[in-house]
């Protein structure tokens, strides 16, 4: 049992005929993801060859979910249209099944489009949005597994550590660190670095806490906002499983956007120092250097009697 996405979850790809959609569609199929179809308006009825699999293309999400009974969708639609793609997916899953997971990889969606899209998703309680501007979510299996997004599949292995992160490549770093001490992952989620996104740290921690496969969590934050502080406060009360935390951006100057739209220290708020302090206060095991995550995780597991 992993969280939200199981090894055999059925996936749709929105923007499947675009270069990103096809490229990553192929990688996902190669990893073992059950890609059951895709959506590109105006190209319904065509098929797309993804590695050894020929998948159908639909004009819209309602038809796609009805015909394939998909559990999740991944969005590779360009920024001007991505906000609406999220809402189309939410509407379709809600109408057809009452539930579904939407993973939005697209970077550069206008913030006000996301404000609208997140409100739309939150109005439909069975629907979960992950991202945007994120690497996606992966549940490694014993053989293959379900990879939804752009992360390199081969660095993962099935295991008992949950990983949640705002950053893409830093998530890979965290995954490699768990592997360095011989631990695999239950589910890894990139929640994205945009100021307004769907699933947050607390949603992930809460799901990992109730997931029997997960015994500990690695949480990677970055400067900007107060999501890390809020998560730490929540975890102090609600988490029994150990957490290892790292925050990127200790050396970032205030007022400068560090790549991610959300990674900015404004009005003296959102600094790494504050976030590390909140982690410490909540009993989270801190790694000051991402190369230490493995070692710190090992200590945390030992302390919890899990090694």
């Amino acid at each position: 049992m992993a969280i939200w996405i199981q090894e055999d979850s059925k996936l749709l790809i929105q923007g499947i005929t675009g270069s990103q959609g096809t490229f990553h569609g192929e990688k996902m199929v190669e990893y073992g993801t059950d890609v059951v179809g895709g959506v590109t308006p105006g190209k319904g009825g065509q098929t797309v060859q993804l590695a050894d699999r020929n998948v159908p293309v639909f004009d819209g999400m309602i038809e796609a979910v009805e015909k394939t009974d998909a559990d999740a969708t991944v969005i590779y639609v360009p920024p001007p249209f991505a906000g609406e793609a999220i809402m189309e997916a939410a509407d379709a899953f809600d109408r057809v099944k009452g539930e579904g997971v939407i993973v939005c990889i697209t970077e550069g969606i206008p913030t006000l489009d996301m404000v609208k899209a997140v409100a739309y998703v939150n109005d439909r309680p069975g629907i979960r949005l992950i991202g945007p501007n994120c690497p996606g979510i992966i549940t490694p299996g014993a053989n293959g597994g379900c990879k939804i997004g752009i992360m390199p599949g081969h660095i993962h292995a099935k295991g008992r550590i949950g990983v949640v992160s705002k950053s893409g490549t830093l998530t890979y770093e965290a995954v490699a660190q768990t592997m360095s001490i011989g631990e695999g992952q239950s589910t890894c989620i990139g929640i994205g670095g945009d100021p307004v996104n769907g699933t947050g740290f607390i949603d992930c921690l809460s799901a990992f806490e109730s997931d029997p496969q997960t015994v500990a969590v690695v949480m990677i934050g970055e400067i900007g906002g107060t999501a890390e502080e809020d998560a730490a406060e929540w975890a102090a009360v609600n988490m029994s499983k150990p957490i290892v935390g790292f925050v990127a951006g200790s050396t970032a100057p205030p007022g400068k956007r560090m790549g991610h739209a959300g990674a900015i220290i404004s009005g003296g708020k959102g600094t790494a120092a504050e976030k590390f302090a909140a982690f410490e206060a909540a009993g989270i095991h801190i790694a000051r250097d991402p190369s230490e995550i493995g070692a710190v995780l090992k200590v945390a597991l030992e302390k919890a009697g899990l090694l």
């Binding site: 920024p79 001007p80 550069g108 206008p110 913030t111 006000l112 489009d113 404000v115 609208k116 997140v118 409100a119 739309y120 109005d123 690497p135 752009i150 992360m151 390199p152 992160s165 950053s167 893409g168 490549t169 830093l170 998530t171 890979y172 770093e173 490699a176 670095g193 100021p195 307004v196 990677i220 970055e222 400067i223 900007g224 906002g225 999501a227 809020d230 790292f246 990127a248 951006g249 200790s250 050396t251 970032a252 100057p253 007022g255 400068k256 956007r257 560090m258 790549g259 991610h260 739209a261 959300g262 990674a263 009005g267 003296g268 790494a272 000051r288 250097d289 991402p290 190369s291 230490e292």
Partner: protein
């Protein structure tokens, strides 16, 4: 992307938000003509730079470094004073709390008709990332540093959140106005004004609209005496006019160039150049360099799936910084292929020559191929396996602690 006050007021004016008459000037002569045309005895002469804190800033001569005038926003009571103030402002360096010690060269001026102020308020619209909604924030303590107000008298700040599907509602506008103690004409004025400002915010994809101060005049009118407006760069595809409004002199030229190349670059004060894929990893790379006693010269994210050309451009940008004494390349390939980075490094060293120590860490997608390319070449560099090793190596090589 930020715009100047005079541009923000233009937006306000066309949306029907009350502002004083004012003229954008680029020379002392224009300022004097503006004074005549405004027909107001008292005018404000305002330095136009993107940073805040202008009123309390100081103007310096760029050549001698001498202090010319205290205050980047001055009230002039005569044409002579307009002349004196605009001469002290234009072409000189304004240093404020937000510009840093190097300050900003002022090449734009705004001359604005004065008004009789009864009280100063603070008003701001922004996206509250935790509430995932537009937040409208107002305070009776206008003209002051809002962070200080938030710290010392948080009860003086009143907030409303706009439900994106319902929009800004009448009762919210009324409640906010009443919380500020407004009544009669002023309340009515405020009610209309924040409705229009919300429209300005949403129709222009703003990231921030801040009015400090918003004033109530002696005749009970509500007037935006300031306008700090920022746009959400992600929405630039649907606002073509932003190109004309952009003041490139307010932006770090290298950052603009990097942006055009699809790279994300921020210049810092240190001497170790960093080339990384991914924003989080790029920040972490800077942090770890610092942890090992070094100072990063930049933040640089080449993004996902960069080709050789883009990686070369990134190298060039790093090498143009005269402070750079060494470079750390840190790649954890996801979409990014390590072999492409390796090839780009080689061609850069062939074309430009690398005179500073180079440490390369390649991990993830096709790292074996990448490392093989580096090893097979005669490139003088140190190859490492982890970020920590990389940081330690580069700090050691440039003779840090």
């Amino acid at each position: 992307m930020n715009i100047h006050e005079y541009q923000g007021k233009e937006l306000f004016r066309s949306a029907g938000v009350k502002v004083q008459d004012g003229v954008h000037c680029k020379s002392v002569e224009e300022a004097l003509t503006a004074y005549d045309s405004l027909g107001s005895k008292v005018v404000a002469v305002k330095s136009q730079i993107h940073a805040g804190g202008r009123g309390k800033g100081n103007l310096y001569c760029p050549d001698s470094g001498d202090l010319l005038m205290e205050g980047g926003v001055k009230i002039a009571f005569s044409k002579d004073e307009v002349k004196e103030y605009s001469e002290n402002i234009l072409g000189h360096i304004l240093v404020t709390k937000q510009t840093g010690p190097e300050g900003k060269l002022v090449s734009n001026l705004y001359v604005e008709a004065g008004c009789e102020i009864e009280h100063e308020y603070y008003l701001a619209l922004l996206v509250d990332r935790e509430a995932k909604a537009v937040l409208i924030m107002a305070s009776t303590e206008g003209g002051m540093d809002i962070e200080e107000v938030a710290e010392n008298t948080p009860e003086a700040i009143h907030k409303i959140w706009v439900d994106p599907s319902a929009g800004l509602l009448g009762f919210q506008k009324r409640n906010l106005g009443m919380a500020l103690g407004l009544s009669g004409t002023a309340l009515k004025d405020f009610f209309g004004m924040i409705g229009k400002l919300y429209d300005v915010f949403t129709s222009n994809d703003c990231s921030m609209v801040e009015i400090n101060p918003l004033v109530r005049t002696k005749s009970d009118e509500m007037i935006a005496l300031d306008a700090k407006v920022g746009f959400d760069e992600n929405a630039s595809f649907r606002h073509k006019k932003w190109d004309e409004m952009r003041d490139l002199s307010e932006e770090e030229p290298t950052e603009t160039r990097a942006n055009e190349a699809g790279l994300s670059y921020v210049k810092l004060d240190g001497d170790i150049g960093c080339l990384v894929n991914g924003a989080g990893l790029a920040m972490a790379t800077m942090d770890v360099i610092k942890l090992y006693g070094g100072e990063p010269a930049n933040f640089l994210d080449i993004g996902g799936g960069a080709n050789e050309e883009k990686v070369q451009e990134a190298f060039e940008i790093i090498l143009e910084d005269p402070n750079v004494k060494g470079i750390l390349v840190n790649i954890f390939g996801g979409i990014q292929r390590c072999d492409i980075v390796a090839k780009a490094v080689l061609s850069v060293s062939e074309n430009m020559g690398l005179e500073v120590p180079l440490v390369i860490r390649l991990s993830g997608t096709m790292f074996e191929e990448g490392r093989a390319i580096i090893d097979a070449s005669d490139l003088d560099c140190t190859s490492v396996e982890t970020l920590a090793e990389g940081a330690e190596a580069i700090v050691g090589l440039i003779g840090g602690e």
